[in-house]
Amino acid sequence: MLAFGEEGLAPEVVRHLHACMICQRRLMQFQSLSHHLLAQLYRSQCPDGQRLSFYCAGLLSGEEQRQIAAHVQECPLCAEEVAVTRRFMADPLTPTTLAPSFLRLATTPTGRQAWHGLPDGRPSAAWPRYYHSEEFELVLHISSSSAGRCAVYGQLSCVNAPLGGAAFEGRQAVLQPLKTVRKKPAERAAADTALLRLTAEIDNRGMLTFPTVPPGRYMLLLHLRERDLVIEELQIDGCRVIWS
């Protein structure tokens, strides 16, 4: 009975409890008192999240800082929250890199044969390219489209979970043009206005298609339910693609 409330009681204890009214009553008293005290006391001595945050940012008075520091030494829950908060506060105030939820996709060096047939049936010799994060894999390919433009195809899958493409259905993919480096402002302005942001919807197989992409430098963003994925820079030049 010592383990009540945790991993369950041993079978012989359960058998005894069925037969013994005294032990049944005793167990109920143990449980009831524990639950009652927990309901009344749970984190009643802890500073609220706001004060703990201000403590971590050093925004409280000296006395309050000392009080909370002493509490954090005793309370493992607050100590854990302080660790999370400090990690959060360690970030620069104004993001200097990409926005928060963006998980950068890295190039997978080895080619694998996972590409499903392209719609036009004419895959480039150098592609597909594979990208991955801890959880996701993205396969990308291009083929020629109309008037010097390219069609960009992708297939997204989840590595760790047996999710089909349906998990991504309806999520948005964005090709975001990057600003062009040119000598003359007029050239730069012309080049930048020619590139518009392109969007595509991921289908129930995890496929995404940008049918006509003008040459230029882009960032690829995939807005998933829990987070966004990013490939920071890709240059589409005619039908040759250079990834960084």
Partner: protein, 234 residues
């Protein structure tokens, strides 16, 4: 979806470094520095007028101007994935501004010396909103207390003041180790295995925690009448 894209776009504008021509880099750098300084002054003035002077227009402008930044912070938060399952980004943003207002408005001794200082307050307010939301959902479910032989003790009608109960409990547990274990079990809601994991220096095995817990509970049950009486006379 369209709206989300627009919001996302402005976060990108904020986040992406601006590229410059190689030839005009120095001039651009000077211009950028001046522009940043002007933006810093402007941003700081919005905060000061909104918070210290209670200017409603400035407050609306402040929310409009910094909402995307708050959203970007949410997306960088270590607990983001759990947090957004529990509440929407919009609610966290609204809460962050509300808490920021409550913490700072009309406080004469408060002076923001830089935009960064004001933003630190705002970010701490956002973190407070997220952490409090997570706490609410982490709270153990309260159990029924109508058990024969133990009718429970209530500190107050709404049961929201555990300080008094905790002081009485401590007085009934003379040993420091028992007090600390009671704190971990009933205040922190840790299971015996978690106690050993978090406080392995103090408690070496789960069997030891089981035994100490039984001692504590039995002692409290024996003194339940005293517990009730002491609460009733306070």
């Amino acid at each position: 979806m369209g709206m989300q894209t627009e919001q996302f776009s402005s976060v990108l504008e904020l986040a992406l470094p601006t590229e410059v021509d190689a030839g005009g880099a120095e001039a651009m750098s000077n211009r950028e520095a001046e522009q940043r300084l002007a933006e810093e002054r402007y941003g700081l003035e919005i905060f000061q007028r909104a918070i210290l002077e209670g200017d409603q227009q400035a407050w609306a402008l402040l929310q409009d101007r910094f909402s995307d930044l708050v959203r970007a912070w949410i997306r960088r938060h270590p607990k983001r994935e759990i947090a957004i399952r529990l509440d929407s980004e919009e609610n966290y943003i609204a809460q962050a501004f509300e808490r920021f207002w409550q913490a700072t408005a009309f406080k004469q001794d408060l002076q923001f010396t830089s935009l960064a200082a004001a933003l630190s307050y705002l970010r701490a307010s956002l973190n407070g909103a997220i952490m409090d939301t997570l706490r609410t959902y982490a709270r153990p479910r309260e159990a029924s207390l109508s058990t024969p032989g133990y009718e429970g003790v209530s500190v107050s009608e709404d049961g929201d003041d555990g300080g008094e109960l905790w002081e009485i409990l401590k007085s009934l547990l003379p040993q420091r180790r028992e007090q600390y274990l009671a704190y971990l079990l009933f205040h922190c809601g840790l299971k015996p295995r978690e106690v050993v994991r978090y406080c392995s220096q103090e408690f070496h095995s789960v069997q030891e925690v089981y035994r100490l817990r039984r001692n504590i509970v039995e002692r409290l049950l024996r003194q339940a009448d005293q517990l009730r009486w002491r609460l009733s006379v306070h």
